[in-house]
Amino acid sequence: MSPPRLLSLRLPPPWSRRAGSDAAARYDVVVIGGGHAGTEAAAAAARGGARTLLVTHKIDTIGQMSCNPSFGGIGKGHLMREVDALDGLCARLCDRSGVHYKMLNRRKGPAVWGLRAQVDRKLYKENMQKEILNTPFLTVHEGSVEDLLLKEPESEHPGKCQVSGVLLGDGSKVHAGSVILTTGTFLRGMVLIGLEKHPAGRLGDQSSTGLAQTLEKLGFAVGRLKTGTPPRLAKDTIDFSILARQWADSHPVPFSFLSETVWIKPEDQLSCYLTYTNPKVEKIIHDNLYLNNHVKETTKGPRYCPSLESKVLRFPNRIHQLWLEPEGLDSNIIYPQGMSMTLPPELQEQVITCIQGLEKAKMVQPGYGVQYDFLDPRQLTASLESRLVQRLFFAGQINGTTGYEEAAAQGIIAGINACLRVCGKPPFTISRTEGYIGVLIDDLTTLGTSEPYRMFTSRVEFRAFLRPDNADSRLTPRGFEETGCVSRQRYERTSQIKAAIEEGVAVLKSLQLPPSKWSSLIPEIVISSSRSSPVRAFDILQYPEVNMELLARIFPESLGKLAEWRELAERLKIEVVYKLCTSNQQQEMEEVRRDEALRLPENLDYFTINASLSQEMREKLDSNRPQTIGAVSRIPGITPAAILNLLRFVKTNRQRTGGIKVPFRTGRSLPERNTDVLGKSEFQSSNLSRAF
């Protein structure tokens, strides 16, 4: 019954050796960390054909959901659909592990529907491990990474050196074409409960310090963030009978485009329950603030998933929602979402017992806070490769994000690009006009972040087009054609439905009736009487009261087939509703694409270029290091005039020289706004030799 160790195994590379042997192993891609970013990265690289090694402390923790027992949500569900469109894992696995599926925002338009599920922790982990350990080209190594192997940089890319492999904890070396770091909160991670504080990670485990020191020495800029997790409660000690019950959807919608249904029968799903804070809770928190180091400190925490303490402090005299979420089918643990706190454990128990329904609840594990360093993501390119060290990629929480879905989204992009980098192919990046993943990565790499970054639909300019329902037609063809990390089966399925939608739209546009005829056929709709020309079925489908079934009854011959294919019928309806809006946005999207095509040189020295820019603008540009003019326009505080002047500068330089020749800065460390530089020491060749 012991979990399998070091299974690679469908295609074990003949050159791979057991760790510890003298000769160094060689892989195309090495992924450090087996969390949500690491697993997606490793699987994506392997799908692309790269011989991949995933190094993790413990195989048993692969796929662990370290915080909330749920996946998806508003914006996050969009990310999962996009990860799935690129053949990623998390969406498919959730369809096999969920215990409560619910579509959020049902009333607010399909563009912002949020797929969400409570997921059985144990099942998810099992499924993920099964998946990872059975992926061809993917080898898993249990152990730690002590350091990076570095060598001289390639001259055609920016960067002071390049990574050539990793040094494992047992002293063996693994050579690699590229390395992905997905180590979450390991950089100076600190757990806080009350006034207690101890380093995060397993006790006594010092294995990552070498890696952290190397990153420091290389001059990576870091910032500090905090997050927290709530106490866990024993299910059988909670009185659910007096609480509001939230039922799961009776027709669960699967996350993956490939799943017809989810694994669980709708009636077998578990429920969530809702309770609230009260003035007593507020009083306990106020009275004991002095016992709460985590809250007092100024480190930035998430505003969007705040601790109970910060909610109480920021919005006093209000009651706050607390969701009681199941952790699994056979788990006796309840996760009280919204109750994240860092008071000393006894006080946490006090807080819990004064809440309705929890009067007798037993605390199984106290809540705690985590503070950690993150890497300023402005040091990364849009493919998530670091600009400082060539072939070194970063993904997940280490880049300042929060959430499994954000991590998975970065993981898949880093994995794909690490693989492409090894093959010498151009990077695969997603534009803001193509997907939420594009927005996420552009925001991170252009603006950085000063709080744990979470995805929202309001961060997305072209929300009406970037919908969960069409993620496959947006990304799957590109993924298949450009990266090879998407299976042919998925590609063909997408092409088929894409063609069917196009055909369906054409048919709907061709069917016309006079307005009076429509009114008599569908009395619920009001057609403006000023129209006398025939109205297309396409326009009629835009009415909220109309669906494909209704139209198919009117035009059984032309539409009958289309309406029978349920997925197609639903997607057609959504497509039609947003058609006007998305076609109006085409021009704007074109403008964004054009701005994104105007690339700025990687090492442009904003302090010396001869463009009319104020010192303030120069500082902003220098600390954000935008990669395109489009990115410049999104930096807060950059004036239109500054954009214009920079644009003019870029254009004149390009005209003059056929390419941009501008002063470059060398040997600089990244300046920052929200971050402090860990290691100020300039990289020297002695560091290089040390690593070899």
Partner: protein, 579 residues
């Protein structure tokens, strides 16, 4: 010869593009208008301003910032004294353009001015300013927003008192502030709706935020509507009120035109149907700008030329802001009851009803009795304000002017009262689009919230375009093309590509000599370096020359095409809501 000019052309171009990359030349220009005058102000802007001031005053120390100093001004080459005048030193960023600026207030004689200009032009790094360049720099350095810049342009062009007041108000940013406020309110509304979309399921974002958004949108809708339905006050004041003189033949319409503009602008004769075309003249009535048109007498004409004239008269009436209906008092006096019918025949039949003044001409031919009867007939509520006039004796002119002034004031409004008026068609276009989007918000609100939010974004984008917050190069092109020195000059200047300008402006690569400079000015060519661009690979002119072509077609077309910086809704909208 040919090779030579080609070479110099290349050299000149090289210099020119270098000048662009070297993004900040120092520019200079006469800022006080051309021609003989008491004092001329010559202004420089750019990093070499300080050097220029030192060299021209022959002193190493600069005057105290923003204080007037009296200096002898010399030619830096020959040290020959040019004039004695006041100089002012404005170190950046506290100057009009935000750059280092200097002003030289010299005597306005052409010899002095040209001497100083030549001296400046010989200094390294200095060149004559292009049309609108000072303002453009001010905009680029964040000193003005677009409406302020437009206001400044209008202020420079303002010919009448009321225009000046309006332009001044706009330049001071009141219009911009109004649009800014609306934009902020929209942002707020958008933030609420976004918060509702992203957070209402998990957090306590109450349902009533949507009601608040609805209220805010409705309020904005009302304000925008009111602003747009101001009877085009601001635009009229800026462009002139169109006053059309109309009436039956031989009623004295052309005489009225001549009377009002105090010169024989139109031919007058006792023969009915003398005026066949529209005669237009501009004048200033009580501070309001008026474009006065005299039209052919309205009758069923037989002569095809006169028929055309009558049809033009009717067209013009359709566009009138104010109609001066001229009727023959002597003819009507026996039957005052026919007055209403006669007036009806003159006024344009289609709506909207236009303001009108009834002018009963030939009062000198009336007996005292019929004069009274006529006045009585006019006194009723049914007729527009009327006056008896004699173009012959000028009797009644004062009354007419008083009535006319009153009407104009009514039409243009007092530019200092109430919210600032919109002054440009560009504003009206974007505001209308904004309003349309707000209208569609309500439709979306009933169905799909995402579409409703999208409309608010769109509305905000349109508002942003007015103030140039979202900097679109095409807007800038249009705005700056309309600047200061004016369309005409830009137009002809760029036309010099075709060769006409060559002989005037000298060989490319050389600064124009002063006589060339003057000659160019006399035909309206932009003073400065010849604006010459070669034909691009496509055989089409590029750069300014292309601008000229586009401009020639009319400025509504956006030039360029590349590098639009689109307005983009910044996505971090939710923060203000979440605190």
């Amino acid at each position: 010869m040919r090779a030579g000019s080609c070479g110099s052309l290349l050299r000149w171009l090289a210099k020119r593009s270098y000048g662009c990359a070297q993004q900040r030349d120092t520019v200079f220009a006469v800022s006080s208008g051309h021609g003989k005058c008491g004092v001329a102000v010559i202004r420089t802007s750019g990093p070499a301003s300080a050097t220029a001031l030192r060299r021209l005053t022959g002193r190493d120390e600069l005057p105290r910032p923003r204080a007037v100093a009296l200096r002898r001004i010399r030619d830096p080459g020959s040290a020959e004294p040019l004039d004695r005048g006041l100089v002012v030193w404005f170190p950046g960023p506290h100057s009009f353009t935000g750059e280092d600026c200097a002003e030289l207030h010299v005597h306005g004689g052409p010899a002095v001015v040209s001497g100083v200009l030549q001296a400046l032009g010989r200094l390294p790094g200095l060149r004559p300013a292009e049309p609108g360049e000072f303002t453009k720099r001010a905009f680029q350095n964040g000193k003005l927003d677009l409406t302020e810049a437009e206001g400044l342009g209008d202020l420079i062009h303002a010919e009448t008192e009321a225009q000046r007041r309006q332009a001044l108000r706009q330049m001071e940013g009141e219009l911009g502030q109004l649009y800014q406020r609306w934009s902020q309110e929209l942002t707020q509304a958008l933030a609420y709706i976004e918060a509702f979309i992203d957070f209402s399921e998990d957090d306590n974002v109450e349902e009533d935020v949507l009601t608040r958004v609805d209220t805010a949108v409705a309020q904005l809708d009302r304000e925008l509507r009111g602003h747009l339905q101001d009877g085009r006050r601001g635009e009229r004041l800026r462009g002139g009120v169109h006053v059309v003189i109309a009436g039956p033949p031989n009623a004295g319409k052309s005489s009225l035109l001549n009377l009002l503009c105090q010169r024989p602008a139109a031919i007058v004769s006792p023969v009915p149907g003398t005026t066949r075309d529209v005669v237009e003249t501009t004048l200033n009535v009580g501070g309001y700008p008026v474009v006065l048109s005299d039209t052919a007498g309205l009758r069923d004409a037989r002569d095809p030329v006169e028929q055309e004239g009558v049809s033009r008269a009717r067209d013009r009436l359709q566009q009138a802001d104010l109609v001066l209906a001229v009727l023959d008092a002597a003819e009507l006096a026996p039957q005052p009851g026919r007055l209403a019918g006669a007036l009806q025949a003159v006024l344009p039949p289609s709506p909207p009803p236009r303001p009108c003044l009834l002018v009963l001409n030939k009062a000198d031919l009336l007996a005292e009795q019929s004069r009274g009867a006529l006045q009585q007939a006019c006194a009723g509520d049914t007729l527009p304000p009327a006056c008896l006039l004699s173009c012959m004796t000028r009797e009644g002119t004062a009354t007419l002017l008083r009535l006319l002034g009153g009407q104009l004031q009514h039409i243009c409004g007092d530019p200092l009262v109430g919210s600032p008026s919109l002054t440009q068609t560009r504003h009206r276009l974007h505001l209308t689009s904004c309003l349309d989007a707000l209208g569609r918000y309500h439709r979306g609100r009933a169905g799909d919230l995402v579409l409703a939010a999208e409309e608010l974004r769109l509305a905000r984008r349109h508002l942003g375009r007015i103030t140039g917050q979202v900097g679109a190069e095409d807007i800038l092109d249009i705005v700056f093309r309309d600047f200061c020195i004016g369309k005409k000059a830009v137009f002809k200047g760029t036309r010099s590509t075709t060769g006409l300008g060559w002989s005037l402006l000298g060989a490319p690569g050389e600064e124009p000599s002063l006589p060339q400079y003057r000659a160019a000015q006399s035909i309206g060519v932009t003073v400065g370096r010849p604006r010459v661009q070669p034909l691009g690979p496509s055989g089409k002119a590029e750069g300014p020359a292309r601008e000229a072509q586009v401009h020639g077609m009319y400025m509504g077309m956006s030039g360029g095409g590349e590098g639009h910086l689109c307005s983009r809704v910044w996505t971090r909208l939710v923060n203000p809501v979440l605190g």
